[in-house]
């Protein structure tokens, strides 16, 4: 069973929608710089979506009670379904709502909503919390709203696996196509910046000082190649393999990079696609500026690929966006397959030939890891 990606939607600091994103992606000089989250001395740097306003795409009706995460996820879903040609003027074309599902990742839910209600409970009284805001505190609410706005009814699978969740959703998508739970799946995730996350990172101090926080949402539309062919859709990428693994440890620390888990995930994803490591052209890794984790991930890539493969860090562009990170990296790979080479600031990528096979990796903070292999479609796909 061959799975392909036929479109994507993205809401990011580099742009909203594939076209704006791809234009910005190619020119590092246009990328908005990171800024301190607040005036506090220990405030972390953040890369937020500047002046985020979804109304040009979603209208202004019904947005008032939605939080930032929900708006980003809903918008990314809408843009993805449109980009894949599944929806025109809000109506599905050639596929039923009952056959379309979501697999979405998010690590922290709406901390903004939880913090707001906790604040009311502490400063005033719990009996004064706003009931219309309460549903936003539930972890799957953003994904639930996305299904309502876009009328997605086959399934809605939410996953939380830290910064590996965005790639894990592709593992789930493979699983659900194998067990035939949908004809089309929008696969990705979202994470919103909030005061709580910034304060927490500020408080963690030196541990995370070199990590820039980010946010965003992205969905890739995945379907069987045969389904895409039937409806005349053009694949952007083929999914060769996806794997998620864990490295058990006896360490007392909760935060542990597992090189073993990442190595296993890469081998598994490549083996599924029947490709050797030598066939990987580019690696999009999960390096975020956290020294111990970046070194561990680089060691894995060096051990497996030597100097033969160029390794890039999409988080250089987006910041660390946890549950959204893998999804934003996938969008970067898809843009590249479309001939829009990302500019990572070192100027090298633009001159590199368009890759045929991209490996995406996520090294989790708790011993978890994930890998995904995408290939630019050949003519016969």
């Amino acid at each position: 069973m061959k799975l392909v990606i036929t479109g994507y939607g993205i809401v990011s600091n580099l742009g909203i929608g594939a076209e704006a994103f791809e234009t910005a992606l190619q020119n590092a000089a246009t990328h908005p710089p990171a800024r301190p989250a607040s005036a506090a001395a220990d405030a972390p740097l953040i890369k937020e979506i500047p002046d985020f306003d979804p109304t040009p795409w979603l209208g202004d009706k019904g947005l008032r009670s939605l939080d930032r995460l929900t708006k980003q996820l809903v918008l990314a879903a809408r843009l993805a379904l449109q980009d894949a040609g599944l929806k025109r003027d809000g109506v599905y074309v050639g596929v039923e709502a009952e056959a379309i599902g979501f697999c979405s990742s998010n690590a922290y839910g709406s901390l903004e909503a939880i913090n707001e209600l906790d604040r009311v409970a502490v400063l005033e009284d719990a009996r004064y919390i706003n009931p219309s805001k309460f549903p936003n505190t539930v972890s799957n609410t953003a994904a639930g709203y996305a299904s309502i706005w876009e009328d997605v009814r086959a399934l809605n699978m939410s996953i939380s696996d830290g910064n590996c969740g965005g790639l894990d959703t592709f593992v789930l998508a493979q699983q659900f196509f194998e067990t035939d739970r949908a004809s089309v799946l929008a696969v990705g995730g979202g994470e919103a910046l909030s005061e709580s996350i910034a304060l927490a990172f500020g408080r963690l101090g030196a541990l995370v000082r070199s990590c820039v926080l980010g946010e965003g949402a992205s969905f890739a539309v995945v379907e069987r190649a045969s389904h895409a062919r039937l409806r005349g859709a053009t694949p952007i990428a083929e999914i060769l393999g996806a794997a998620t693994t864990f490295g058990a440890t006896s360490s007392d620390s909760l935060l542990v990079p597992s090189e073993r888990a990442l190595t296993a995930a890469i081998h598994s994803a490549c083996a599924q696609g029947g490709i050797s490591l030598a066939e990987v052209d580019v690696v999009l890794g999960s390096m975020s500026g956290l020294t111990a984790f970046d070194r561990a991930e680089n060691r894995v890539h060096s051990a497996l690929f030597g100097n033969a493969v160029r390794v890039h860090a999409p988080k250089e562009l987006f910041g660390e966006s946890f549950g959204a990170a893998g999804a934003l990296a996938v969008a970067t790979a898809l843009a590249w397959f479309k001939g829009k080479a990302p500019s990572f600031g070192d100027g090298a990528t633009a001159s590199q030939p368009m890759p045929r096979t991209i490996l995406l990796t996520s090294l989790g903070y708790y011993g978890n890891a994930a890998a995904l292999v995408l290939r630019r479609p050949s003519n016969e796909t």
Binding site: I114, D118, V122, V138, S139, D161, Q175, F176, R181
Partner: protein, 435 residues
């Protein structure tokens, strides 16, 4: 096109269960309480309910984390994870499996459901932040936030190295976890999956449901004409699911087979089920079809049964639509142990195992006045005995999530290779397929 033999490679067997619930912890105590129709409702002890207008919930009173976890483990996790890990250990013990002694640890997965995960950790951080500012945030607590951590703690403790995921699927999360575990095993991706769900009571959630006017004053009365809503609960239920080959190789006894999983989304309202219950109906039909049986083969339905107007009428519609004129016995465990949110359908799955083993349908307690809008065969107030070959576990959730799992006595279902496996793909190619 997938073949049946490729998709349905193995039966999925339940070989162990661990439970912490408001009506009893450990399988024996839980099963006894189910048979007796015990209520877990009482005054909340974990936080003040003063001025909230409601004060009753279903807490797990007999859980002490230090009885089950090491000092290092206690330092790393909050109460929700602790309860999940303790339940996982209980399940492993019953299954006769041992931590860190796996033949191939990469084929052992951990899938946990929850709604809010370590909500107590986050609540403490928020309170410290509001009262005393960022400097009051304890660094050790910051790294413990996030529902991601539930399966991570279990995987670390037992030495599992397969897929490790949290499914935050609100009130259907337990069924989501069991269903995904079933998919992973039957498609040959894992030999053993530790699957289940965990949830705890905390003040924000309690207050939120009161403010939504969804909370009953003292008792939960599913399907009753005078039902007034939910009672919040907490708990954890974790299962050992194994492939038939893995279980047979080690001579493991098994309690039931997981035979089907149905998954749909309403796309209707964030907190209410669709009134025509079409999504929920489709989930139930899919789960039954996957098991290779007909609706007429289902002996008992363990209801979602929250005790709200909207849920119970929607669930009634499911019963009528799926089972027609046949009045299949149905009962809501939430009348006894409250609505345990993410853990609800996992605890209810444990109740399904009880029914499969014993032939006892646990009662819906506090059922006093029949409701013509909930014209279903409620197992009212006292447990009943009946056929118990195949039972369905129904769940609905925030966001319009619907999930159904099917449990069967060992040996009742046809071999996996003979069960339907093509649904959407068959429709696309124009051939017949059950829906």
């Amino acid at each position: 096109m997938q073949t049946a033999a490729k998709v349905n490679r193995s039966r999925v067997l339940v070989t162990g269960v661990g439970v912490f619930s408001p009506i009893g912890s450990g399988k024996e105590a839980f099963y006894s309480a189910l048979a007796a129709g015990k209520s877990g409702a009482a005054e909340v002890t974990q936080f003040s309910t003063e001025n909230l207008g409601r004060s009753i919930a279903c807490e797990v009173k007999d859980f002490r984390a230090s009885d089950h976890l090491s000092g290092a483990e206690l330092r790393r996790m909050g109460r929700c994870s602790a309860m999940a890990l303790a339940a996982a250990r209980m399940a492993l013990t019953e299954a006769g499996l041992h931590e860190n002694r796996w033949q191939d640890r990469s084929r052992v997965a951990v899938i946990l459901g929850t709604t809010m995960g370590e909500a107590d950790v986050l609540e403490k951080l928020d309170q410290a932040l509001v009262r005393s500012g960022p400097q009051a945030l304890q660094r050790s607590h910051l790294t413990r936030v996030g529902s991601t951590l539930l399966p991570i703690h279990i995987a670390r403790a037992i030495g599992a190295e397969g897929p490790t995921m949290t499914l935050p699927a609100a009130c259907a999360a337990g069924n989501y976890a069991i269903g995904l575990a079933y998919d992973l095993i039957r498609t040959g991706k894992a030999d053993v999956v530790i699957a289940g769900a965990s949830e705890l009571i905390q003040q924000l959630q309690f207050s939120g449901f009161v403010r939504l006017a969804a909370m009953a004053p003292s008792k939960c009365q599913p399907f009753d004409k005078n039902r007034q809503g939910i009672l919040i609960g907490e708990g954890s239920a974790v299962f050992v699911l194994e492939s038939e080959g893995h279980a047979a190789k080690r001579g493991a006894a098994f309690q039931a087979e997981v035979g089907g999983f149905g998954l749909t989304c309403d796309a209707y309202h964030i907190t209410r089920p669709h009134p025509d219950a079409s999504g929920s109906v489709a989930a139930m039909r899919r789960a039954i079809a996957e098991a290779g049986v007909q609706a007429g083969d289902i002996d008992f339905v363990n209801a979602h049964g929250t005790g709200t107007k909207a849920n119970d009428t929607a669930e009634t519609a499911v019963m009528h639509e799926v089972f027609g004129g046949r009045r299949v016995p149905i009962s809501s465990m939430k009348s006894m142990f409250g609505h345990c949110m993410g853990a609800a359908s996992a605890l209810e799955a444990a109740a399904c195992l009880f029914t499969i083993e014993s032939g006892i349908y646990p009662p819906t307690i506090h059922y006093e006045t029949p409701d013509s809008e909930c014209d279903v065969a409620v197992v009212a107030n006292v447990a009943q005995r009946g056929p118990h070959r195949i039972v369905a576990n129904n769940s609905l959730a925030f966001g319009g999530y619907n999930a159904v799992t099917i449990f069967a006595q060992p040996g009742v279902l046809v071999p996996p290779s003979e069960r339907p496996h093509a649904f959407f793909s068959a429709r696309a190619s124009g051939s017949e397929a059950p829906r």
